[in-house]
């Protein structure tokens, strides 16, 4: 029975998980296996970088202690329940009543089948023993955090050192996640927040116990932005997107991967490690030209603009970017979304605009909202942004490529009439994680670093600008504001639906030309049009049309 497994139906949608590459791998794994890789990297980083490692340790110990008390209490009253659990663990995880085998892949796609069938090893079946193992593990990790040098290890060597120093072997590590889960269920613990940190540790343990390749463990004693303050972080980073999608390929006979940002399409089979039966790139069928991509290479003074490292702090470039936004805010109604390459760059440029007085001028036309790393603050800002668009005041949202907003928030209809991508969103190339990933990709899939970086940056850019158009009745403009976009090797990596609307005349614009085009475009789009499309360019099909098409195909 062929089952089509599609993430989305339309061609301009974005992948939710399997159709991804290492850039999104952590996300994708997290969405399929609830709390696995992402929680490892982000939660560990959060908890450790927010508080000193000592407090983190204390936190874990209190967790452990409180549970120990709990177990003691339960033992007195409910010894039977622990006994029943013990029996279950002997039988193997798969026999658990609440986890039918057919859905196992959904709950645990990142874990191979054998782990589900095997029985939990004897030395962690009893709750006390398991707790002791966990304590040893936490102590070991704590010791690793004391280090003064940056370390990059493969899981194999990391597991070996755990084995030698803490006496925990790979098999025990592998079962940590399930053992903890089972224990929590048995004890009927409801306030899971308190145990979040120990869960993170268990997830981490299970992943390094399961996979010997495709991951690396990076220990950094200092944050790169603040090299003076000690802020140790252990990160488990996944380099191989094919691990995440493998369970899907195993389970289903037919898998369809659709996305609006699968470009260049030939790179994906290599990254996800499969052979596509058919790979096809479609253009969008539109009733009218409702998207208007532009490449802006020069500012209003005709000097080139770019976020290249040697140019980004040039006051001329900063001013040109500011002028561009100011002019656009006076010509575009309702919402404008701006994407910057990083938080630090956004902070810098907004500061400079404020000092130059450009920001004040912009605020006369529209309200300005800014995304921050804080989720609550960002949600609030988004809410108010929407309100400002609704009531006609107009608003601008400053956001960061690869941020939460760029990945998951839609700016359709009047919430986003224009999106400006300031610069090319390359990844931070000095990041240890990225370097490790690039090395892995080069060795395993023979993908060149430069190719991957460009591909990844352009895919992010397409992802960002694609936020503004979510349906055929919608319309929106996209400005790529960097001179590097006019180069063919960059541009050609954009998805087909953008390229097909990118006219040659729009490839090398300055601010005033872009402004003129924007005005014309907005006027044209505001005219009433035939929504159904007439004659040749019919884009909304009724059931009848589909039947006719099917008949035609049969006759042919």
């Amino acid at each position: 029975m062929p089952i089509s497994w599609s993430t989305a139906t339309s061609t301009c949608s974005t992948p939710r998980w399997p159709a991804s590459c290492p850039g999104r791998c952590r996300r994708s794994v997290s969405s399929c296996s609830t709390r696995h890789t992402t929680s490892i990297t982000s939660a560990l980083r959060l908890s450790v970088s927010a508080s000193a490692s000592r407090r983190w340790k204390a936190l874990n110990e209190t967790c452990g202690a409180s549970r120990k008390r709990l177990i003691g209490r339960f033992k007195a009253t409910d010894a039977n329940r622990l006994r029943a659990e013990y029996n279950r663990l002997v039988d193997g995880l798969a026999q658990r009543g609440n986890l039918p085998i057919s859905d196992a892949w959904l709950a645990n796609p990142a874990l191979p089948d054998d782990i589900l069938k095997e029985a939990v090893p004897g030395n962690i079946r009893r709750a006390e023993h398991f707790l002791a193992v966990l304590r040893r593990l936490v102590r070991f990790l704590d010791g690793r955090l004391e280090t003064e040098t940056v370390e990059n290890e493969m899981p194999v060597s990391f597991v070996a050192s755990i084995h030698s120093q803490a006496g925990i072997d790979q098999k025990m590590l592998r079962f940590c996640y399930d053992r903890l889960h089972s224990l929590m269920l048995t004890l009927e613990i409801t306030d899971t927040d308190e145990f979040m940190h120990i869960q993170t540790i268990c997830d981490f343990a299970t992943l390094i116990g399961t996979y010997t390749r495709g991951f690396s463990i990076i220990t950094e004693p200092y944050d790169e932005r603040m090299p003076d303050i000690r802020d140790p972080v252990i990160q488990l980073s996944c380099h191989d997107a094919s691990l995440a999608i493998q369970p899907v390929f195993d389970r289903f006979q037919t898998v369809v991967i659709t996305s609006g940002t699968l470009s260049p399409i030939d790179l994906y089979p290599r990254l996800l490690n499969f052979n596509p039966v058919i790979s096809r790139s479609f253009t969008m069928s539109l009733t009218r030209d409702c998207i208007c991509p532009m490449v802006l290479t020069r500012g209003s003074d005709q000097l080139p603009v770019s976020t290249k490292f040697d140019m980004r702090s040039d006051p001329g470039v900063v001013r040109n970017y500011g002028r561009l936004l100011l002019e656009m805010s006076s010509a575009v109604p309702d919402g404008i979304v701006c994407f910057f390459v990083s938080y630090s760059y956004m902070d810098g440029i907004v500061n400079s605009w404020n000092e130059m007085g450009i920001l004040q001028d912009i605020m006369q036309h529209k309200l300005v909202f800014i995304e921050t790393p804080d989720v609550v603050e960002t949600t609030l800002a988004l809410d108010n942004y929407r309100k400002a668009c609704d009531c006609g005041r107009g608003a601008i949202f400053f956001s960061v490529a690869r941020g939460k907003v760029a990945e998951g928030i839609d700016f359709d209809r009047h919430y986003g009439r224009l999106v400006i991508m300031f610069g090319v969103p390359f990844q931070y190339t000095l990041s240890r994680i990225l370097l490790a990933r690039l090395e892995y990709l080069r060795e395993t899939f023979q993908i060149k670093e430069g190719d991957f970086l460009t591909f990844d940056a352009l895919r992010q850019a397409a992802q960002c600008v694609g936020r503004v158009i979510r349906s055929k009745a919608d319309y929106g403009m996209m400005i790529f504001a960097d001179k590097r976009y006019s180069r063919h090797d960059k541009r050609s990596k954009l998805p087909g639906w953008i390229l097909s609307h990118l006219h040659d005349a729009h490839l090398n614009l300055s601010t005033d030309m872009a402004l003129h085009i924007a005005r014309e475009f907005l006027r044209r789009m505001a005219q009433p049009y035939d929504k159904m499309g007439s004659g040749g360019n019919k884009t909304l099909l009724t059931e009848e049309d589909l039947q006719n098409m099917a008949q035609d195909a049969m006759e042919m």
Binding site: C391, G392, H414, L522, M525
Partner: protein, 432 residues
């Protein structure tokens, strides 16, 4: 604008395309000669205003097409006509003939933008003037007032009234722009004024909006709700781009929201608001309205008019039939007793909106009707022959009721100015 039927001269004479062009140029020159007394050389003319180069068209091979403005204009006109008649296809649509319209003109910062020449504000004012004249021409029983938005605050420039001249004068004197604009303030103000209008009047707001945002003191949604409740129909013409809140206002209150592409398109959109729109059924309960038909005062009667408080002889004004007070202009409301005063031609001029002439069918047969039907070879209106010198029949139209044929000029004249079909009218008189 289209004088009689005599304008067909340049239409059927030339044989070739180039000949036709030359002929048209001749015509233009003749017109200018008439206007200024001498022929302007090509380099002396002011091309900046009419932008004639934008009308140039290329054919498939990249050659310039001869500009055939006449058929172009006619095709455009036909499209409009058919559109309008399609909207009123349901035979008996009630139309609001007594309209109370406030024109809201946005004079905020954005109105000084130069994308329309010389500025948005000047263009808006120029066409608003034309619109007011046209409006009173088509709706003699209606009233207009002007409101401007400036620095976020609204001012009532003129009280709602029935005379075009005073409105235009007030508008032209107040042309400067600054500050933000606020839709909510405008709606609130106009809502306050229109609330006092008698129930039979159709309350309308037409906003000519240059800005792309609105800085409101409160929640605009409440104001929209209020307007909706008072049955005020808001229409907006935008000069730059589509704004969500404007669309929302128009959708909620049943108005139309259009965006102008350029100056001529703006004019077109504005004039679309001149003919009365179909009344919304639930709003317009059929009721009787008291009206007075005042007589012109006697020659020797000297009295003080109620509108200007000046001594006038009776022949300059009209006498209200109920309270016998002197008023200067019609239509108006009597200052003393509040009776609506109109003259019968005003009513008659509104009549054609209810019973428009049907759009004529296009006939483009190369062989004229062989049955020798009367008027088959000639325009029934102006008696011009449809046969060109090279014996080709040109495009013409036919009335579906009386089957008379008309040339294109007469077609426009009948539908735009005459509002009666000469063929049908003469049939009726001969049969009765």
């Amino acid at each position: 604008m289209y004088g009689g039927g005599g304008g067909g001269g340049g239409f059927n004479a030339p044989s070739t395309a180039s000949g036709r062009r030359r002929n048209q140029e001749d015509e233009e020159e003749e017109e200018e000669e008439a206007g200024e007394g001498r022929v302007l050389e090509a380099w002396e003319r002011a091309y900046a205003d009419d932008r004639s180069w934008e009308a140039l068209q290329e054919d498939d091979s990249g050659l310039l097409r001869p500009i055939d403005t006449k058929t172009l204009v006619h095709a455009q006109y036909r499209r409009r006509l058919l559109l309008r008649s399609a909207a009123t296809a349901a035979a008996r649509i009630q139309k609001g003939l007594i309209r109370y319209l406030y024109i809201v003109i946005d004079l905020s910062r954005a109105a000084s933008e130069m994308d329309y020449r010389p500025s948005r504000m000047a263009v808006v004012a120029k066409h608003a003037e034309a619109f007011i004249r046209e409006f009173f021409d088509q709706n003699p029983l209606s009233h207009v007032g002007i409101v401007t938005i400036k620095d976020g605050i609204c001012h009532r420039l003129t009280e709602i009234g029935g005379s075009p001249e005073s409105q235009i004068k007030a508008l032209m004197g107040k042309l400067e722009c600054s500050g933000d604009s606020s839709l909510q303030n405008a709606l609130e103000l106009v809502h306050g004024y229109l609330d006092q209008v008698p129930s039979y009047g159709h309350k309308e707001i037409l906003i000519l909006y240059s800005a792309l945002n609105t800085c409101d003191p409160g929640d605009i949604m409440e104001t929209i709700e209020k307007c909706k409740k008072s049955k005020i129909r808001c229409s907006i013409i935008g000069l730059a781009a589509e704004i969500f809140i404007c669309k929302h206002i128009c959708e909620e209150t049943g108005g139309s929201y259009t965006i102008a592409l350029d100056e001529s398109h703006f004019k077109e959109l504005l004039l679309e608001h001149a003919p009365p729109s179909p009344a919304i059924a639930e709003y317009a309960a059929a009721n009787l309205i008291k009206m007075g038909f005042p007589q012109r005062g006697a020659e020797d009667l000297i009295s003080i008019c109620s509108c200007h408080k000046k001594i006038k002889s009776g022949a300059e004004g009209y006498i209200c039939p109920r309270c016998k007070v002197n008023v200067c202009e019609l239509p108006t409301e009597c200052r003393t007793c509040g009776l609506t005063l109109v003259s019968s031609p005003h009513l008659a001029r509104s009549y054609h909106h209810l019973f428009p002439v049907q759009p004529f069918d296009e006939v483009s047969s190369i062989y004229p009707n062989k049955l020798g039907q009367k008027g088959g070879q000639k325009c029934y209106g102006c008696q011009q022959s449809f046969i060109n010198p090279d014996s080709q029949s040109s495009l013409h139209v036919r009335c579906p009721k009386c089957n008379q044929h008309f040339c294109l000029d007469c077609d426009i004249y009948i539908h735009e100015s005459l509002h009666n079909c000469p063929g049908c009218e003469s049939q009726r008189s001969s049969s009765s």
